[in-house]
């Protein structure tokens, strides 16, 4: 190994530039969303934009510290870091403060922190550490189960906090497993079952469900014609059909186990329920905000939907509305494109790693960011149900900004080492 000091030019400046752009543009939109004509000093720290400025400054400090820390620290202590954050999830369940029905905050003085946000990078680290073991192959059962536990444990604890959105994020690690050898059929199966679930919810009467099952049975029977005619294939197909029947009838049961507000959100999305005053209100107002932005938007600070509070959660989960309303199609598509470029760049950078650990970690980073990006903007645009998770680097909030900064900069730091490893 050559001993070489860290050089600034080893850092991936494409990722850093996009990061800074998103953070800066995010802050502008938070400023606009909270903007009050009679009181708009930028450095007013009682306002969200003032606070966000502190969070941003702190994030830059955090990023610098990560860059200074020896990169081996993260790979060597990944399990310890993971353990520490799992502990924080347990502690928050015991001593946390309940905010809006979710027990997911530590309150220290006037300062509140959400440990769940930080577990994402810790899980990525632990997963990368485990999967980079030479004898671990995603294909085999034991490895799959252990990797699954690493992923599901924090998700489960977060679910206990009653924060479904944050728990769902861990689904995104499927991409990491897929890259490491998990069968691609998982996506096909996942899609088929998601499709079945939606169909089952749409076809509310039993008759329609039986017709649906009949059609499926017909398809399965037809597919047997193209298979080897032996008993094992018959049993296989029969097994598949049995699972589908069980699934179809358990969807309603599962749905009824959801919390009422979640049920309503899904029903609104599936158009089973028109409710522009209630659950559909956020999404409707959000669509109005974005739609009314037209091509070039109403201009910075000129959004009426967001400024006059028609869109709730406008500085956090619905921040993208402000972009759509004030910066129009030009601004909002720019944000979408920036995110896609960032994600592709992260994968590109991950693929150039010589360390498997770094590569897997990179995939973890991309997966988490991709999931947040998809769910958040999908929700704001009214094509996915309302699941309250923030838009990375954009939404107001110290915990999420810091957590995403840590997540991203650990990767940037690892990447900067790639030349040394030979």
């Amino acid at each position: 190994m050559r001993d070489r000091r860290l050089a600034w030019r080893d850092l991936d400046w494409v990722i850093i530039s996009i990061y800074l752009l998103l953070v800066f543009f995010g802050w502008l939109n938070i400023y606009s969303a909270v903007y009050n004509p009679s009181n708009h000093a930028i450095f007013d720290f009682s306002q969200r934009y003032g606070k966000q400025m502190i969070w941003i400054a702190a994030s830059i400090v955090i990023a610098l510290i990560i860059i200074i820390i020896a990169p081996k620290f993260f790979s060597q202590f990944s399990y310890a870091i993971y353990g520490f954050h799992i502990l924080s999830l347990i502690l928050v369940l015991l001593f946390g403060k309940e905010v809006a029905g979710s027990k997911s905050w530590f309150q220290i003085g006037s300062f509140a922190i959400q440990p769940a946000e930080f577990v994402k990078y810790a899980t990525s680290l632990a997963l990368a550490q485990y999967l980079s073991n030479l004898d671990v192959k995603v294909g085999n059962l034991k490895a799959t189960i252990i990797a699954g536990v690493i992923i599901i444990l924090p998700a489960f604890l977060i679910l206990l906090q009653n924060d479904t959105g944050s728990a769902l994020v861990y689904v995104s690690f499927i991409f990491v497993l897929y890259r490491r050898g998990l069968s691609g059929n998982i996506f096909v199966i996942g899609l088929i079952f998601a499709f079945l679930a939606v169909l089952t919810l749409l076809l509310q009467s039993l008759t329609y469900k039986l017709i649906l099952l009949g059609v499926i049975l017909l398809i399965i029977s037809l597919s047997y014609l193209f298979m080897k005619k032996n008993l094992s294939n018959v049993l296989k197909l029969f097994g598949i059909f049995a699972i589908i029947v069980a699934f179809v009838f358990s969807v309603d049961l599962g749905f009824s186990k959801l919390q009422p507000h979640q049920q309503v959100r899904i029903k609104v999305l599936l158009n089973l329920k028109q409710d522009l005053r209630g659950a559909g209100y956020n999404v409707y107002q959000s669509k109005i905000a974005i739609g009314s932005g037209s091509i070039s938007g109403k201009g910075f600070l000129n959004g009426t939907q967001t400024k006059f509070n028609f869109v709730p959660e406008q500085s956090t989960d619905f921040i993208f509305c402000t972009v759509g309303e004030e910066w129009g199609f030009i601004g909002s598509s720019l944000v979408v494109i920036l995110f896609v470029i960032l994600l592709i760049r992260i994968i590109y950078v991950a693929e150039r790693q010589r360390s498997i650990f770094s590569q897997i970690y990179g995939y973890g980073v991309a997966s988490v960011l991709f999931f947040h990006f998809t769910i958040n903007i999908g929700m704001v645009l009214g094509i996915l149900p309302v699941i309250g998770i923030p838009l990375p680097f954009f939404s107001y909030g110290g915990s999420s900004l810091w957590a995403f900064t840590i997540l991203l900069f650990i990767f940037i730091r690892q990447d900067a080492e790639r030349m040394k490893l030979l």
């Binding site: 897929y178 006059f308 028609f310 598509s333 896609v340």
Partner: protein, 612 residues
């Protein structure tokens, strides 16, 4: 830790694919929302825009001497928009406006029933001090606001019937005209009703921006799209408010009507319906109570007798017979008939008073001889120029209609009546076709029988005689707006179909009536008054008396009809009242030598004793 050959390396492309796929889905969705859909632009505007209606001041009303007789006073209504009235501290709110919570619920339900989104009145007509107090606290109660409106004020306290009143729109009016919204005021009677479209002006709109809590956030585009309210047109009446006041005083404790017209224009100088009431009684909160008691009053003060009551015209109709007969060539000034205490024909007798037996037309008018005019009427109906008496009757009826009898004159006030001139069909039905003639219908000759006229039609008779052959449709409003010259609807001369030369003898006769005939009490120093008395038989009690007149004889300034119920002969009450009106109008005062008469008229109480 060093990488081995990676057989899954190609999977990165699948992952790129996912990223790009989601990105493209989002871009498509964004372009659908932002580029190919206007709906959301309007929805955003709807969200934030609040239109405040600005009510224009209602037009003012002036009399013929430019005296202000109707003006506006600001009052304030507390309005509610039920949809927005959420999270109200009802107890505090009720305390503030002084009602109980039950009342609050009742009012809230009523408003909600009308509309959840549209404003309706919660509490009516607050005073200025109440409003000032309320407005300071109202911000605590979303969904409530104060709406300024105007009430009418009448400084002269008279002319109630023709000015009319305004009131809240009812549901039918709301449906018929989109101009109004609940709680608005609309003219309900009088010129307030007939000139509503001019008086009301045009509402303005102030466009404001509001936030999600409906709090005002300043004007929309700096007021660029605001529409200013347009004040209603002022009305200038032909009415002389001082004469009107005098007329109402003269008619105190009497039942009847006075109508005075300026013959040269058709403008109504005065229109009294007695008993009357103070128009201020029907304004504001006190209105409904007062309206009820006026409605219950057995002398019907709300009835506009000048337009809505029809009476037999009595002897005043003899002038009409004289004009028609001359035009038809069956009567000449020199024509004489003989009267021996009345008209006798085959056992039919129409009584008359004692006078020189053989008289000519002028004398007949002067002494109002019944027999003479029965003969005149018979000569019209039995005119040899026509095949039979039915044809003669038709001809006669046509004249009367041209003179404005038996149909509405078309005054600019609502609810006018047309009186009655019987039709051929009526007699055909009553007697059978061909079984009636001049004699059967002889009471028409002297203005009795089926003939009915409104006091307005009686005054109009005086007007077309004053004009020697034509009249302008009588009207209250001389001028709409401050710049226009005339009320354009009323500039056409209506000719009555009688050559002006036939008026001379009639006018001379009318002059004699006042000089030394049946209406000597109507004589005025230095002004030649031409008049005609009449008595309408009243089967229920004392006869009604009527007097029509115009003055001066040459270049007449005023034509008048006075009708007093239950007052006996026309010469006793109606004629003196008419002459006092004329004198007041032409001279501006009543001279000393007639003060006794004025006093007698003012003090006279002609309401039947059992009804007082």
């Amino acid at each position: 830790m060093i990488m081995r050959k990676d057989k899954y390396a190609n999977r990165k492309y699948t992952i790129y694919g996912f990223f790009i796929f989601v990105g493209i889905i989002f871009l498509i969705r964004l372009s659908i929302l932002q580029l190919f859909n206007n709906e959301y632009v309007f929805a955003a505007e709807n969200n934030t825009r609040k239109d405040i209606t600005i009510y224009p001041p209602r037009g003012l009303v002036f009399d013929r001497n430019n005296k202000l007789i109707v003006y506006n006073e600001a009052i304030f209504d507390l309005m509610i928009i039920p949809k927005e009235a959420k999270d109200i501290n009802i107890v505090n709110f009720c305390k503030l406006i002084g009602i109980d919570t039950l009342e609050y619920q009742r009012k809230y339900k009523k408003a909600k029933k009308y509309s959840r989104r549209k404003a309706s009145i919660f509490v009516k007509q607050l005073s200025k001090t109440q409003t000032a107090f309320l407005q300071e606290k109202l911000f605590q109660f979303p969904g409530f606001y104060v709406q300024a409106r105007t009430l009418r004020k009448y400084p002269y306290k008279n002319a109630a019937h023709l000015l009319g009143f305004i009131g809240e729109v009812n549901s039918k009016e709301l449906k018929n005209d989109t101009f109004y919204s609940s709680g608005d005021y609309i003219g309900k009677s009088g010129i307030e009703k007939s000139y509503e479209k001019y008086l009301r002006g045009e509402k303005g709109v102030e466009k404001l921006m509001v936030d999600v809590y409906n709090r005002e956030k300043g004007s929309f585009h700096n007021g660029k799209y605001d529409i200013p309210a347009k004040k209603g047109y002022n009305l200038h009446l032909g009415l002389d408010v001082d004469l009107q006041t005098y007329g109402e005083e003269l008619m105190r404790n009497k039942i009847g009507a006075i109508v005075a017209i300026e013959p040269s224009s058709g403008e109504i100088i005065s229109m009294v319906s007695a008993p009357s009431y103070d128009p201020n009684l029907l304004v504001g909160r006190i209105r409904s109570n007062n309206y009820d008691s006026l409605l219950k009053d057995k002398h019907k003060p709300l009835l506009t007798r000048a337009l809505n009551s029809s009476y037999p015209p009595g002897s005043t109709f003899k002038l009409v017979q004289a004009l028609i007969a001359q035009q038809e060539g069956v009567l000449y000034p020199s024509t004489t008939y003989t009267c021996h205490n009345g008209f006798n024909y085959k056992g039919l007798h129409v009584g008359c008073h004692s006078h020189t037996p053989t008289i000519n037309l002028e004398e007949a008018i002067k002494i109002s001889c019944n027999a003479y005019f029965c003969n005149v009427y018979r000569s019209i109906i039995n005119n040899h120029a026509y095949k039979n008496s039915e044809m003669g009757f038709r001809k006669w009826r046509d004249y009367t209609l041209k003179m404005g009898f038996g149909k509405k004159l078309g005054i600019d006030l609502p609810y006018e009546r047309g009186g009655n001139i019987p039709k051929v069909e009526y007699y055909d039905k009553y007697y059978g076709k061909g079984h009636w003639n001049a004699i059967t219908t002889i009471s028409l000759a002297i203005g009795q029988g089926e003939i009915l006229e409104t006091p307005l039609q009686m005054a109009n008779e005086a007007a077309f005689i004053a004009n020697r052959g034509y009249y302008y449709t009588p009207h209250i409003v001389a001028q709409i707006g401050d710049s226009a010259k005339n009320n354009p609807s009323f500039t056409k001369k209506n000719y009555v179909g009688i050559n002006s030369k036939y008026f001379d003898i009639v006018v001379n006769g009318m002059e004699k009536v006042v000089e030394n005939g049946t209406a000597k009490l109507a004589k005025i120093d230095s002004i030649a008054v031409c008049g005609k008395t009449g008595t309408a038989q009243n089967p229920h009690g004392e006869n009604h008396s009527v007097f029509i007149a115009f003055a001066p004889k040459d270049n007449p300034q005023i034509a008048i009809a006075v009708f007093v119920e239950n007052s006996g002969y026309g010469g006793t009450w109606a004629a003196p009242i008419a002459s006092l009106m004329i004198e007041k109008y032409l001279k501006g005062y009543i001279p000393k030598n007639r003060k006794w008469l004025e006093k007698r008229m003012l003090e006279g109480n002609l309401i039947p004793e059992d009804e007082r």
